[in-house]
Amino acid sequence: MTLSPYIAYAKKCFLGRSAYRFDHFIGILSTCLQFFIFWEIYRALYGNNTEIDGITMSMVTTNFVLSMGLGAVFSPDDYFLPNKIWDGSIATEFLRPISFKGRMIAENLGNALFSLIFRFVPVLIIAAVTVGVSAPASPVMLLLFILSAGLGFGVLWSISFAVQMTSFWLVNIWSLITIKNVFVNVLSGSMIPLWFMPDWMSGVLGLTPFSSIYFTPVQIYLGQLSYGEIAFKCGVQLVWIAVIYLIGDLLWKKGQRKLVVQGG
């Protein structure tokens, strides 16, 4: 197996994104707007308090910047497979000598890399200059944050992968994707930091993959976790990636068989 076709696809996506400059600036604006709205709401809620339940406003701010910034980076194309099933080009993909999943990852990574450089970084700078963002707890924690954020991307990608695979049977999965996005946005802590959830709820959420997408990296960044906890939480991320990916892969194999037997 050679990597060059996958690199070619990743590069195509990276360069493809740079063609739409207007969309890109609006994208930065939208992430900033989202961030400032949430920031204002929480500032009003905090009032004159410097901290609530041991959570300072600066931690909340950092949570929003990081999770919304990462949210802009972690945007796998949920319609990658559905579009190919709609226009029939899935047949072409089945005949190609390269792995379809590999190509999907390559294109998503190309996109993510673009967003990381041209969206996450500008938003981070804007937020740091205007309202201030906490520095990482330590250089080691920064490295672990990057590692954990990578794993978080893996979790989100697997969820998107598994959801997309249902389009072999459902064809139109717009509503399913919307539900998935609501779950990801609300339950991952990017809208309501999971610190403020009632205990029973954060307990339940701890059992879902959503909290390991953004919240685990954010906690590491802020230095809230010990090394043992970090190892455990990263392990949880890995387990989620494996479990959800295997479910998606099972659907992928069944979907292929379905197309070959029933046609598509």
Binding site: G88, F94, L95, R96, P97
Partner: protein, 310 residues
């Protein structure tokens, strides 16, 4: 190259067919006869309900990806190039995917883009092309890696006369270098020009497989000879003619070429009189098919009916 053994799938019923190496086979039949199903079975996009398909000696469903650049498939309406890419970008991705050496790739690309005449729009996105331009680019995308086996489903859709001629020429050259082609088409003139063998599907059954001449002698053996004479009208009494007409000094004879050859008739005429001009017209593929589907249909169905009686 491809072997179908008693294959059943959708409307296809008990198809057995061997596609030999280095030939161009034309798959013809009315819409819904099962042509595309047959193509998809050959490349492993469909698995047969019963029976076996072997492509390059292997089960195509299990080996689909392993054929790599050995098999190329073009199905009209199923895009090979991504809509949002420019034509050239799409081809560069194909180069990366199939690992074609750079100079070889550009040599082939330049040749194909010139001959199929889409070089001028290579910087446009695929979605902005007209149907004809897009088809030309997509055909080239199916040809760019010089496969051993080419499966084409309606390659003529959207092509103008120049496009058809160019495609015909290219396919003929590829065949000479050893490529096997299985193509469906409704363009009978093209099939007639290009294909060494014809497979005729009718409602899922393979009713004929062989050369065009065989098809003609089986289903449309009536030839028409027109001759302008200088001299007396000869005597045809003993000839097994279907009919003849005399108009001034021109005679028109219809006869069954299975029963008497044109040479025999001509010899007899020349023995009795002088001939200034002669032309022999055999029914072209299109009229054979029309005849089969229309008035002459009974012949097909009669043979089917016979089977049922047995």
């Amino acid at each position: 190259m491809i072997n179908f053994e008693n294959v059943n799938k959708y409307c296809l019923c008990d198809i057995s067919l061997h596609i030999p190496r280095g030939e161009i086979i034309g798959l013809i039949g009315a819409s819904g006869a099962g042509k595309t199903t047959l193509i998809k079975l050959a490349c492993g996009l469909l698995s047969p309900d019963s029976g076996n398909v072997y492509t390059l000696g292997k089960n195509p469903v299990q080996n689909r990806r392993l054929y790599k650049d050995a098999v190329s498939v073009f199905v009209a309406g199923t895009p090979l190039l991504c809509r949002n890419d420019t034509v050239l970008q799409g081809f560069r991705l194909l180069r990366a995917m199939y690992g074609i050496e750079k100079s070889e790739f550009y040599r082939r690309y330049n040749e194909l883009s010139k001959r199929l005449d889409f070089a001028k729009c290579e910087h446009q996105t695929v979605k902005s092309l007209s149907l004809g331009q897009r088809m030309r680019a997509e055909l080239a995308a199916a040809l760019i890696y010089s496969p051993h086996l080419l499966l084409l489903d309606e390659p003529n859709v959207g092509l103008d006369e120049n496009g058809k001629a160019a495609l015909c020429e290219i396919l003929n050259e590829y065949r000479k270098s050893g490529m096997t082609v299985l193509m469906t088409s409704h363009d009978m003139a093209g099939v007639s020009k290009l294909c060494g063998r014809i497979a005729l599907l009718d409602s899922g059954r393979l009713v004929f497989y062989g050369s065009e001449d065989n098809l003609r002698s089986r289903y449309a053996p009536i030839d028409v000879m027109t001759a302008r004479l200088s001299g007396r009208i000869p005597d045809f009494e003993d000839l097994p003619l279907k009919r003849y007409t005399v108009q001034g000094d021109t005679i028109t004879l219809s006869y069954n070429s299975n029963h008497i050859s044109s040479a025999e008739i001509l010899k007899l005429i020349l023995g009795q009189t002088n001939v200034c001009e002669v032309s022999i017209r055999k029914p072209d593929l299109e009229s054979i098919i029309v005849q089969l589907k229309g008035g002459g249909q009974n012949e097909l169905y009669r043979s089917k009916g016979d089977k049922q009686d047995l």
